[in-house]
């Protein structure tokens, strides 16, 4: 089935709700309106307002209620209208959900999904990449797909997972990507990265919308004789350390690319993993290309300067290739 990124998400919700009566949805404006980005369009018509619940504007209540419902055996999937608002329910996620299984053996099978990321001039409160708040919280899983097919397969897996999963959807991709998605394919296991493009000269490790930037840049550089391998992390927690080490060993040069801001971004973590596991395999410094340490600015020329660009990526790659 030919699906855009957002429709792949919608389709995954439909498939899971048809398959499992324990799955239900909660969020703001997800019912009759179908969600701010239409990820749940028409779902209230098929499944009814009991399973596609328009909630009050109250993120802590939404996530709290999801946690409570999950304790009774349900599998709630909640939408953050924008993932920036996940800050409002930080406590429910990091203190209630994340610690539940470790503390008292009570699993919390919930998914918190919604749009992240910049490039659409959303400004400081509709463009953020909040993944690292949660990557730093044991007990959570953090997933960010880069293609419609992965969005579909990973969301199936996230819903079936017994742990709280943050499912981050880059809104820049929602309608810009389209591909054939096998809707009868099995879920894609969480925690496994994917080589999105094989290459021998150096590795770009990235995730989310930056995968597309990396692939386009890799194509350009191939014409100039640099063969770039692109590793799409897909899941940030738990990280696929084996895949990270494998690509580093293969190419001996690593650049980490992310749209998230620099300090405390996943690049630092991956760098540490690489020097622990692949110190002897590296032929060059580990580089990182990220957004700068600032809020996401609103005005297009500011945002463009803020986000990692394809040009900057090409420059970094060429520099690394010379080692």
């Amino acid at each position: 089935m030919e699906l855009t990124f957002v429709d792949a998400i919608r389709q995954a919700l439909i498939e899971e709700m048809r398959r499992d009566p324990a799955v239900f949805l909660m969020g703001e404006d997800i019912g009759v309106y179908g969600g701010a980005f239409k990820a749940t369009a028409g779902l209230v018509d098929e499944f009814g307002p009991q399973r596609v619940i328009d909630t009050p504007l109250a993120e802590s209540a939404i996530v709290g209620a999801a946690i409570g419902a999950s304790y009774t055996g349900m599998r709630p999937v909640v939408e953050m209208q924008f993932m920036d608002f996940v800050a409002c329910c930080f406590n429910q996620i990091t203190n209630f959900a994340a610690k539940s299984h470790y503390r008292w053996n009570a699993p919390v099978p919930i998914v918190i999904r919604g749009p992240v990321g910049g490039g659409v001039h959303g400004g400081p409160f509709h463009s953020q990449n909040p993944e690292m708040y949660f990557v730093h919280t044991p007990g959570l899983k953090v997933v960010e797909p880069a293609t419609p097919g992965d969005a579909f397969g990973l969301l199936l897996a996230a819903i079936r997972d017994n742990n709280p999963v943050l499912f981050l959807e880059h809104k820049f991709l929602y309608r810009r990507l389209k591909e054939d998605v096998a809707i009868d394919a099995p879920p894609i296991p969480l925690g496994r990265a994917k080589v999105a493009r094989p290459g021998r000269d150096l590795s770009v490790i990235t995730y989310g919308a930056m995968v597309q930037t990396a692939l386009a840049t890799a194509d350009q550089l191939a014409a100039r004789g640099i063969e770039v391998e692109v590793l799409d992390l897909r899941t940030l927690l738990p990280l696929d350390c084996d895949a990270i080490a494998a690509t580093a060993r293969k190419t001996s040069k690593v650049l980490i690319l992310h749209e998230d801001t620099r300090t405390g971004g996943i690049a630092g973590e991956i760098t540490a993993i690489l020097q622990e596991r692949c110190f002897d395999d590296l032929d060059g410094p580990i580089l990182r290309l990220t957004s700068g340490d600032a809020p996401v600015p609103f005005s297009p020329p500011l945002e463009e300067a803020f986000l990692p660009s394809a040009q900057a990526l090409a420059n970094h790659i060429e520099r690394l290739a010379r080692f």
Binding site: P21, A22, F24, G48, Q50, R51, I53, T55, P56, A58, E59, S60, A61, I62, V63, G64, A65, A66, I67, G68, A69, S70, Y71, T72, G73, M74, R75, P76, N91, Q92, N95, F96, K99, S100, H101, Y102, R103, W104, N105, A106, P107, P109, P138, G139, K141, N162, N163
Partner: protein
Amino acid sequence: MPKARAARPRPAAAALARRNGQTAAAMVTDLRREKLRFDLRETRRDGKVVYEWEGRVTDPPPLRETAALSRDQALAIYRFMLMNRIMEQQLENLYKQGQVVGGVYFGLGQEGCSVASAFALGPDDWMAPMIRNQGSLLVRGFAPRDVMMQYMAKSGSPTRGRDGTSHFGDLEKRRMISPISMLGDLIPVMAGVCLGERMQGREVAAMTWIGDGGQSTGVFHEGVNFAAAQRLGLVLVIENNLWAYSTPLQRQVRITDLAVRAAGYGIPAFVVDGTDPLQVYEACRQAVARAHAGGGPTIIEAKLMRMKGHAIHDPASYVPPRLLEFWRRRDPIVRFEGYLTLKGWLGESERTRLRAEIEVEMAAERAAAESSPMPTPDDVLEGVYCERCHHPTPHFQGRPS
């Protein structure tokens, strides 16, 4: 001369109630026999800011009779209250002997509220205790040793030493959700429990407690409003014990009766004397029945007093002594004993026998707790995730809605 405007007919109370949920007046049922106010005066003495209370220290009225409790039930509540108190005395001893890791929290003076509220729940209902509701744990079938081992951080504790105090739960048997430290967050979670149950075809009550301090949180509002909007069977007991750690009620809010908040959510509320287990039970019984009927949430404000410090380390020197004296005369166990004696349900010898029986039981519980080893660290990093070790399973009754 301007024509006198004809008075517009006032909408009938029932219509108003329909439009507005219900009206504020109709919503709060006050079961108390004495309506108390505790206005503190902030003053300076010897250069220090202190609180004073100028009210009169009086004797309490008799308890408020309820037809809903049989003799056996009343005695069961009494026994749990006594267990609650004696268990906490043991906890204090354990602490003084250095056997407790961290602090101890007490529900002294609040036993009647913890016990009688939890007693109103049915076996299919859910509850989630706060730190002072150690009596509710006993009602729900946990043993004193469970509580003791939590405080002692033993491997045999319900959380195997991973958390302390009343931070434990049991999804399968006792339908109890573990609280977290952050006050207020349990409220939407318990609303969600009702939602999950409803989706499986059952209307249940989900009870939790919050303090006069915790009710100031934003998540309190979010949770109660969510429950109200969805008509979920949340039973929220606000234990207004006049203090949030060292901060008196009047520094938390501009109102005296927290129950009036219910009007803003379009839900009913009760005000009860929290040292009268009969009132607490009566209000909770009605709230639970309303939940079972799909009628939505209820707030029950229990007026009582935290009779010790915030935790064992806190001598509570900020509390005016006369205020404590006032409440000491309202010891829930003493009051309930008076009631049971008057009813002819509890004689002197029976009372002594019961107390001795519980003392023996508690000593055995304590010995069991002491004999549990400390946890070994081999699995300290395990169980962070549920990797198919549990199988969350819904139990749909009738057609999934």
